[in-house]
């Protein structure tokens, strides 16, 4: 006994209100006879029943609101054979309230609520972009992977699961051609690369070599490769240029820093303010000296030596990222204390990687305290486009002659590498001597302040 379900009617309809029944239970109806008037959002609509017979049940009374797809009337067909019940294609009473449906539209059935939503989650291999290799297997067998890598490299290139992983391998110096990929078709996965990296670091930690390992010069694959990139590359380029372009000479002198240490201790006594470092003192002396020997605070442009009116003092700082040279601008205008604060601050920020471009460029002279490395002298490389670099080594006790007697003094070695195009040995020596005098007798430096 078929039930006639409320079909989609006018636009905007998810439901309709029964207004008037044109038939009652027991009536005989014929096909397409209008049996009920319902009200939609737009108008009053008369609904014809699609089969004939005797009405056995009316599924609502006037005023009731039925949703699309709910039974409207049940008819016992008189012909004896069951006419197929009419099911509206867009039945979906449950979702009617949520995603508003349109009802039949001017040119179509109207919107319908989403069909089956989720099914068992076996991913469709067919969603993978069209394969290059022919696939002889019928659906739904898995299809060939898009890049069809195969176990062997193609012209040295292997298939890696993603650019990110390829980069990961590159950064870690992993040779992809030596890997067996565990992904489909031999695809190299992140796990494959990670495995190599962690295996290698396990080896390294058991060995004596510090990280990063010095690349071995070996002719076969298997030596550690550390790419020169980023900051390291920038420094390498600059140093190479310095060596290429600058005809460099070096002068050095041993200096008695005993008094310097005493002055430093006095300066840093209790309650005295920001800590004054050796580097700060050296920097202050340097600024003084450069005012006397301005040709060392210059750069070469073409055929000209261009003297810089300001001293933008760079100092070498060692960080996790490598060598960094922060620049204290207008150092000539800073007191010793201000210089010390600037140097300390820049160093801290350098270690944290927070220096901006203004603090990393534009230097006119560089000071280098390599004594922290435990060495005495250094034929330092000039920081192009500067023309000189001053270095100070360890301050350690050594035998010295004072007043004809051998005594133990705190000695240090000062080194000046200079661009011989801008000055000769006299200037360089004079500069260095001046610095050395300041170091040996800081009090005398007061004359020049």
């Amino acid at each position: 006994m078929p039930a006639f379900l409320l079909p989609d009617l006018g636009e905007g309809l998810t439901e309709a209100e029964i207004v008037t029944w044109r038939v009652q239970v027991g009536d005989t109806v014929t096909v397409d006879q209008g049996i009920v008037e319902v009200e939609t959002a737009k108008a009053l609509v008369e609904v014809p029943v699609p089969f004939g017979g005797r009405v056995t049940e009316l599924h609502g009374k006037p005023g009731d609101v039925l949703a699309v797809g709910e039974p409207l009337v049940t008819v016992e067909t008189v012909t004896g054979f069951a006419e197929p019940g009419v099911v509206t294609p867009a039945a979906g009473a449950g979702d009617a309230g949520d995603t508003a449906q349109s009802g039949s539209v001017l040119i179509g059935y109207g919107t319908s609520p989403g069909r089956r939503r989720r099914r068992r989650r076996t991913p469709s291999p067919a969603v993978i972009p069209a394969p290059g290799a022919a696939d002889a297997q019928p659906a739904p067998e898995p299809v060939a992977a898009p890049a069809d890598p195969g176990p062997a490299a193609v012209d040295g290139r292997v298939a890696v699961a993603s650019p990110v992983i390829r980069q990961l391998a590159r950064d870690a110096g992993v040779d992809l051609t030596t890997l067996r990929g565990s992904g489909r078709g031999g695809l190299i996965t992140r796990q494959d690369v990670d495995a190599v990296i962690s295996a290698r670091s396990a080896e390294n930690s058991s060995g004596a070599e510090p990280v990063p390992a010095v690349p071995t010069v070996s002719g076969h694959a298997g030596g550690t490769r550390i790419p020169i990139r980023g900051a390291r590359k920038a420094v390498a380029d600059k140093l190479s240029r310095s060596r290429r372009e600058i005809p460099e000479a070096t002068v050095w002198v041993d200096a008695d820093a005993t008094e310097l240490l005493a002055v430093r201790a006095a300066l840093n006594g209790a309650g005295s303010g920001p800590r004054i470092s050796i580097l700060a003192l050296l920097s202050r002396f340097t600024v003084l000296a450069l005012s006397r020997y301005p040709e060392l605070n210059a750069r070469i442009e073409g055929d000209e030596i261009v003297l810089s009116p300001s001293v933008h003092l760079g100092f070498a700082a060692q960080t996790d990222r490598g060598l960094v040279v922060p620049v204290v601008r207008e150092a000539q205008g800073l007191t010793l204390e201000q210089l010390a604060v600037a140097v300390a601050g820049h160093t801290l920020r350098a270690r944290e990687g927070r220096l901006g471009p203004a603090e990393l460029t534009g230097g006119t002279f560089t000071v280098n305290n390599y004594g922290v490395f435990g060495v005495d002298g250094s034929a330092a490389i000039i920081n192009h486009p500067e023309v000189a670099i001053l270095g100070i080594g360890r301050i350690i006790e050594r035998p010295w002659v004072v007043g004809g007697a051998i005594v133990s003094r705190h000695l240090t070695q000062l080194t000046l590498a200079f661009d011989h195009r801008v000055c000769d040995g006299g200037t360089a020596g004079g500069f260095l001597r001046f610095i050395a005098d300041c170091v040996e007798s800081p009090a005398k430096a007061l004359r020049h302040l």
Partner: protein, 357 residues
């Protein structure tokens, strides 16, 4: 070349024959056939509307009230001629001989065209207005090139005559002197837009002169006149007389489709006025008055119409026959590799959907 001031007619409102210059009253058997097909067409139309209300068709644009034009035009075609219908001309296509279920395939939503155009020489039902007009011209011209005696009749609405394709088709047809009959059913409205907003021309038939095409204005609710006018045009075109533009004045009694609310743009009084000028009643009066139709004949026709409607209901009250695998078919003469893969994607999706959760 200009149309007459008043529409040509052969039957007055009461079904009495009136003389008409240039139009010959069809023979008795033709008149009887016109009537029979109009009865069947109206019953078909009503049934289709009911099926739509029951959700068996996505949409049904009714031609109720236009039976005389629909049937009169089609019966005037010869076997070898071609019909270019629009989405509203289901009656005409059924009358031409296409299986009603196939005719309704488009509107049911199983496929875009349910029949083989070559079997009954009916082009697929055309939705974008007036785009079928150039097709008709091309096909007719090709027939001439091939030496075939075949005339193309393209159906247009009043709204369609505003589209650029109508202009192009009329012009090409005239320049080529192609054997085309442009049959414009002016039913008063293009959805909601009335004729007054569609054109400022004295009549749509007047548009022919601009192309050098004779325009004919005919009473579209007079089946005899429609038949005679189309017959004359077909004969003339077939003999090399070139294209003809016929405007049949009629009225779209129902709304644009089942989901349109016509009360928004026209009065029921206007509709009632046209209902009173029922083309079917008019012809019936004439036939009855001439003793060509009696009550038992009418009863017989009604029974025949009912039987056809019942058969249609039974066939339409089944679930859809649309096959998802058809989606990637017929796009090209030979399925491309890419579409082959997409078909497999689809097959996989369908299979996966069948799996138990």
């Amino acid at each position: 070349m200009l149309p007459t001031e008043t529409p040509l007619t052969l039957l007055d409102a009461d079904g009495r024959a009136v003389p008409s210059a240039g139009l010959d009253m069809p023979a008795d058997d033709v008149l009887v056939a016109l009537h029979r097909h109009m009865v069947l067409a109206r019953r078909f139309d009503t049934q289709a509307m009911a099926l739509t209300k029951q959700g068996r068709l996505a949409v049904y644009p009714s031609a109720r009230g236009q039976e005389a034009s629909e049937i009169g035009a089609v019966l005037a075609l010869r076997r070898a001629d071609w019909l270019f219908p629009t989405y509203r001309d289901s009656m005409a296509v059924v009358c031409r001989g296409v299986d009603p279920v196939e005719v309704l395939t488009l509107l049911r939503g199983d496929w875009h065209c349910g029949y083989d155009p070559y079997v009954h020489r009916v082009a697929p039902q055309c939705t974008p207005l007036a785009t079928n007009a150039p097709h008709a011209v091309g096909l007719a011209h090709a027939a001439r090139l091939k030496g075939e005696d075949s005339v193309a009749l393209v159906m247009l609405g009043d709204g369609a005559t505003s589209e650029g394709d109508t202009h192009a088709a009329l012009n090409f047809a005239a320049v080529w002197q192609a054997p085309v009959v442009f049959f414009v059913q002016n039913n008063g409205y293009a959805i909601s837009v009335p004729l007054a907003k569609q054109t400022a021309a004295p009549s749509l038939a007047h548009k022919g002169i601009g192309y050098g095409i004779p325009g004919v204005l005919v009473d579209g609710n007079d089946a005899a006149a429609v038949y005679a006018a189309v017959r004359r045009a077909v004969t003339s075109a077939a003999a090399g007389g070139g294209p003809v533009l016929i405007e049949a004045l009629t009225y779209r009694v129902e709304a644009h489709t089942n989901a349109d609310d016509a009360t928004r743009y026209r009065d029921t009084a206007e509709v009632d006025g046209w209902l009173a000028r029922d083309p079917l009643a008019r012809l019936r009066l004439h036939l009855a008055g001439r003793g060509l139709l009696d009550e038992s004949a009418v009863a017989g026709l009604d029974a025949e119409a009912e039987a056809q409607a019942a058969a249609l209901r039974e066939r339409m009250n089944t679930d859809t026959a649309a096959d998802p695998a058809d989606l990637c078919r017929y796009v090209y003469a030979e399925q491309t590799q890419s579409l082959h893969w997409q078909q497999r994607e689809l097959a996989w999706e369908l299979a996966a959907a069948e799996e138990p959760r």
